[in-house]
């Protein structure tokens, strides 16, 4: 008859005079878990302290890496307490594996490095104490300062490349500029339509409701129109571009870096900024304002639909007041922001894409950082430009 219940590993600990005897028995498997080592620790710390630990097999049916782990721990515990360990009667195979893990013999695969730190030391190296807050802030600031230089360097390489692109000096590279325009422009329309329309509508609803409490609900169309033109259209465009183009640019470039395509470009004398960065950034700068126009139109449409359809403002009144708020000044403020956001999104995507590591695993991280930075950059640029427009009374 065969038993279906899983056999268990056994670890028994006996004190024999100055010696501790550890008996290993049963069937050991990592899947079934390791036996508790509480008893063993207690025996090692007992008083009077043991002088020697002897490991013996007793009816050991089978064993696997789990046994090696337990022996490794025992070895470390004995070394810390200055106790001798006698493994002569432990399974020979397990002893050999332990030697390999300890680094005293060459690993089963791969090269051996003479100057490699011991396994235990190298593991300990990973568990570092977190630096105190002041040091952490200092380290962060230093790292930021270093990377700022690199970012300025990137900007310094991009601007002349943009110039060469606009002068048509790089056309023979086969840039795919039209494709970049299409991707940034037409490709963004559907998602932008939804975001702009919805946010225009929501703004209209909230403004009408709140202003109604002061009997000023008829001012809502003014408010909404100005907010849409000056900020909301541009901001929704910026967010949509960050999500779509910030991510795709970073992913494309990071994949090219990983495939050594960018290195190959350099070795044949092509500046990656000419072929990869400038067309993407310029496409976004050109498409930004056009998309803002589109987002403005959809935002105002959303506002009118909600104002008239949901809040029961007469259509003629709402339209009249919306039109009354429209001015070139507000529109220009929004369009400038659109171009700026396009630039910010383009730079973030290309920067983190090109600075990605030469391995495929780095692509995900590059995309994440690029999108987060693009969104952050859009918001910061919006704040800066709003303050600037206030200064110049635009």
């Amino acid at each position: 008859m065969t038993s279906t219940a899983p056999a268990e590993s056994r670890l028994s600990v006996l004190r024999e005079g100055p010696d501790v005897v550890v008996r290993l028995g049963g069937a050991w498997s990592v899947q079934a878990g390791l036996p508790s080592a509480v008893e063993l620790d207690r025996a090692l710390d007992a008083s009077p302290a043991p002088r020697r630990v002897r490991v013996e097999e007793s009816a050991l049916e089978r064993w696997d890496s789990g046994l090696v782990v337990v022996l490794g721990r025992l070895e470390k515990a004995c070394a810390e307490r200055g106790i001798d360990l006698d493994l002569a009667r432990a399974p020979l195979g397990a002893r050999r594996l332990l030697d390999v893990a300890r680094g005293t013999v060459a690993p089963l695969v791969g090269p051996s490095e003479a100057d490699r730190p011991g396994r235990l030391e190298s593991l300990a190296g990973w568990v570092r104490e977190a630096p105190p807050l002041t040091a952490a802030v200092g380290l962060w600031a230093l790292a930021w300062g270093r990377s700022l230089g690199d970012k300025l360097d990137f900007l310094g390489s991009t601007v002349p490349a943009l110039g060469r692109l606009m002068l048509g000096r790089t056309r023979r590279l086969g840039l795919g500029f039209t494709l970049a325009l299409q991707e940034a422009g037409v490709g963004t329309l559907p998602i932008l339509a939804l975001i702009a329309f919805a946010s225009g509508g929501i703004l209209s609803l909230l403004a009408t409701q709140q202003l109604d409490r002061f009997g000023a609900s008829l001012l809502a169309p003014y408010l909404v129109a100005i907010v849409v033109l000056r900020e909301l259209g541009a901001l929704t465009t910026g967010i949509a571009l960050a999500g779509r183009l910030g991510s795709s640019n970073a992913a494309e470039l990071a994949t090219m870096v990983a495939g050594e395509e960018v290195d190959a470009l350099r070795t044949i004398g092509v500046d990656p900024f000419d072929l990869l960065v400038a067309p993407r950034v310029l496409a976004l700068v050109l498409m930004g304002p056009l998309l803002v126009l589109y987002a403005n139109a959809l935002g105002l449409l959303g506002s009118v639909c909600v104002g008239v359809g949901l809040m029961d403002v007469p259509a003629t009144v709402y339209l009249e007041r919306t039109r009354g708020a429209m001015s070139l000044k507000h529109a220009i403020a929004g369009l400038v922001k659109g171009a700026a956001f396009g630039f910010v999104v383009g730079m973030a995507g290309c920067y983190y894409g090109l600075r990605s590591g030469r391995n495929p695993g780095a692509v995900g991280k590059a995309v994440q950082t690029a999108v987060v930075t693009a969104v952050l950059g859009v918001v910061v640029a919006s704040v800066v430009l709003t303050l600037f427009f206030k200064r110049v009374r635009l």
């Binding site: 490095e113 190959a264 070795t267």
Partner: protein, 250 residues
């Protein structure tokens, strides 16, 4: 005074981040030689190649081409030197957004005054020489791995450069393909007088084509052997080098 060697590496130290990968590298490559860089995985073969073609700036030391330092001059000087190189990266590193034909043609467009139709004719010839007729308008993702390597070879040889750098050309090919690479290298050297710097651990290929080789050692982080690979296999004083070239049989 003798003519300066075509490539001279002087006191080169390679770093990866803060870690020193290799140091104290000194060797010369003569014109018309097939020069192999061998060594264990992680020993810095590719890093050395990347430094030699100017993709990475050495931490210490110099790389000179006919006596002119790669990093000593201006960026324009470096680009001029690089124009004389052809580089094959492991796996081909083709431009994924361009067809095989455009991959080869790009370099011709940049560095020659060929008319458009001549550019395409030369590019087609280069692809045909590597057995890629019929694949001109395929994108890299549409052909198999070995064809990508062959297209990479076609691109590297597009301008008939003086110096070719090949990174593991045969690692992704089957044994027959690997021997065809050997033939290509031999033809380049014997018929065109091209100098080939080869990063490879393909022993059969090394014995067949390499005139001289250096061995980068992982433990001591420097080159521990230099000479003809067949000679090193049989007579190197370093048992590790003999074991490496003996295919693991010490």
């Amino acid at each position: 005074m003798a003519e300066a060697p075509l490539i001279e590496v002087r006191g080169l130290t390679l770093r990866r981040g803060p870690a020193v990968v290799q140091s104290g590298l000194d060797f010369t490559v003569r014109r018309g030689q097939v020069f192999a860089i061998m060594g264990a995985t992680g020993a810095g073969k590719t890093a050395l190649l990347r430094h030699m073609v100017g993709l990475e700036r050495p931490a210490e030391g110099e790389v000179l081409y006919s006596g002119e330092s790669l990093w000593g001059g201006t960026e324009e000087d470096r680009e001029r030197l690089q124009t004389g190189f052809g580089v094959l990266f492991a796996g081909g590193a083709l431009f994924s957004t361009k067809t095989l034909l455009e991959n080869v043609a790009l370099k011709l467009r940049l560095h020659t005054k060929l008319a458009e139709e001549d550019t395409l004719a030369v590019a087609r010839l280069k692809l045909a020489l590597m057995g890629l007729t019929g694949y001109e308008h395929h994108y890299p993702s549409e052909v198999n791995e070995s064809r990508r390597v062959w297209a990479g070879l076609a691109r590297a040889t597009a301008l008939d450069p003086q110096i070719l750098f090949f990174e593991e050309p045969s690692a992704r090919l089957d044994p027959l393909g690997a021997r065809r690479v050997d033939d290509v290298i031999r033809r380049l050297r014997d018929d065109l007088g091209t100098t080939v710097v080869l990063v490879s651990n393909d022993l059969a290929g090394l014995f067949a084509v390499a005139d001289e080789a250096i061995y980068l050692d992982l433990e001591s982080k420097t080159m521990t052997a230099r000479g003809n690979p067949v000679h090193l296999r049989d007579h190197s004083p370093d048992p590790k080098v003999r074991a490496f070239l003996g295919g693991g049989r010490a």
